[in-house]
Amino acid sequence: MRQPGQRRWQCNTCSEIYDEARGLPEYGIAAGTRFEDLPDDWECPMCGTPKSDFSLLDE
């Protein structure tokens, strides 16, 4: 369930979506982890695109 303020971000290369409500538990990122709190060197697990090349999908 998405909480107020939680957002979704989309990879500009492969369109994979990072959903803050879900996190990526299979990659060790807990549900609720904000995109801003991902490490700076975090990258799209599907295509390797850097964090800086994600776009905010919705508020």
């Binding site: 290369t13 369109s15 979506i17 990659y27 599907m46 295509c47 390797g48 999908l57």
Partner: protein, 427 residues
């Protein structure tokens, strides 16, 4: 430092389409390469030397650096010296018969990709889910009418993804069989059962002759589609391509026709191969069917593991645009790198027990859709259509077993089962 050279008798079979007809043989070659020659040079007569890249980490390192490892300078797939020479003669200098997204470098690649990218994003595909589900249900219903045996590859797996992608492109169903025929000529040009009738598969030039014929047949077909969609655009991918612009200009002709070709071929053949392989696995593993029936949530993992297991795109080739050090080896500007996806997806350094089919793998780090900027544009659609199909079929499939030997297509590029004879019961 002299680069390590792979013994020719070890690597040469991987350059022969017939070897891929024997799945075990291919895996045995690459298992040994990963262990003894993880990054080394193949010097196969008739081919320029190629670095054979076998490790998952190395494929990711190469494919995420499109500015260093180019896609457009040389043949993007394994090609003999003669084949590449013929391609340049046929095209007036280009090393490819087709100029698809696969064959482009930046910035051109992204510019062309953006013409259709929005249509393949998850948020756009949400609107197609009901239609895909209905198509899946109809194909499952049809399978139930086939009796208690069928060739799942030809009777089901070849047809369902073919319909899904051509509905998205906007091609009428009466033309789908033609699209399948051309796809098979293109990707399985050397398979005696699937090749173009009359093709001389012992002729080293056959691949280019066939690809040129396929290009011209697609061109003849799609020129009518382009005229139609320019005159009367619809909500389909055919209209996006026909009216698409790059830097404010229409696409060049070869790039536009090739855009349709890649959608009409890679847009279904890889998914068909994976779907056929999934059934092959199920038919040989009765407890797996019971596991999926008991826990339908596992179907997502079943699909992902099937993609890893099938890895329908076996290889791509890149050329180095500058010197680069990879795994301690010196790659020189101009060197060719053969990227073995089938090897990377069995890499023991990444996948525990890589030769076991495990739908529970999480995360499943396969690179069956590629990696980096050239990652498959249609990957989200492919996943959704496979998920829909298996969610419709699994609850109705009471039992399945192989009725005869399955057979792989003979292709060193896109490869999957060409026959999966099964005996089954459905309700």
């Amino acid at each position: 430092m002299t680069p390590p050279i792979i013994p020719t008798d070890l690597i040469a079979p991987a350059f022969n389409p017939a070897t891929f007809g024997q799945r075990g043989a291919v895996h045995e070659i690459f298992r040994r390469l990963r262990r003894e020659y993880p990054l080394a040079v193949a010097e196969v007569p008739g081919f320029d030397p190629h670095w054979i890249v076998t490790r998952h980490a190395d494929l990711r390192e190469v494919t995420r650096q499109d500015k260093i490892f180019h896609s457009s300078d040389r043949s993007k797939t394994l090609a003999s010296q003669l084949a590449e020479q013929l391609m340049r003669e046929y095209t007036g200098g280009a090393p490819h018969i087709f100029k698809t997204l696969v064959h482009m470098d930046e910035p051109e690649h992204t510019q062309y990709r953006q013409v259709t990218q929005a249509q393949f994003m998850p948020q756009a595909l949400d609107a197609l889910d009901d239609r895909v589900r209905e198509t899946a249900r109809r194909h499952v219903d049809r399978m139930a009418t086939l009796g208690d045996t069928c060739d799942f590859a030809t009777d089901v797996a070849f047809l369902y993804p073919l319909e899904v992608i051509h509905d998205v492109i906007g091609i009428p169903r009466e033309d789908h069989a033609q699209m399948l025929r051309l796809t098979q000529w293109l990707f399985t040009y050397a398979d005696p059962d699937l090749c173009r009738p009359g093709a001389n598969i012992t002729d080293p030039a056959e691949i280019i002759k066939t690809w040129d014929i396929v290009y011209r047949e697609f061109k003849d077909y799609y020129e009518g589609v382009i005229r139609d969609r320019r005159a009367c655009p619809r909500h389909d991918v055919a209209s996006l391509i026909a009216n698409g612009t790059v830097n404010g200009c229409p696409m060049d002709e070869r790039a536009m026709i090739s855009y349709y070709v890649i959608a009409s071929t890679a847009g279904h053949d890889t998914t068909s191969a994976t779907t056929a392989m999934s059934m092959w696995v199920l038919a040989e593993n009765p407890p797996l069917l019971e596991k999926l029936k008991a826990n339908p949530a596992l179907i997502l993992g079943f699909v992902e593991e099937s993609i890893r297991w099938a890895t329908p795109v076996q290889q791509f080739v890149r050329s180095a645009a500058e010197d680069y050090t990879l795994r301690g080896q010196q790659i020189r500007k101009g060197d060719l790198l053969y990227l073995s996806y089938v090897s990377a997806n069995r890499d023991e350094e990444v996948f525990e027990d890589p030769y076991e089919f495990r739908p529970e793998r999480s995360p499943n780090r396969h690179i069956g859709f590629g990696f980096g900027g050239h990652v498959c544009l249609g990957q989200h659609l492919a996943r959704r259509e496979m998920r829909a199909f298996w969610e419709e079929l699994i609850p109705r499939l009471q039992s399945v077993e192989m009725a005869d030997e399955g057979r792989m297509a003979e292709s060193e590029f896109v490869c999957g089962p060409k026959s999966v004879p099964i005996r089954f019961r459905m309700n």
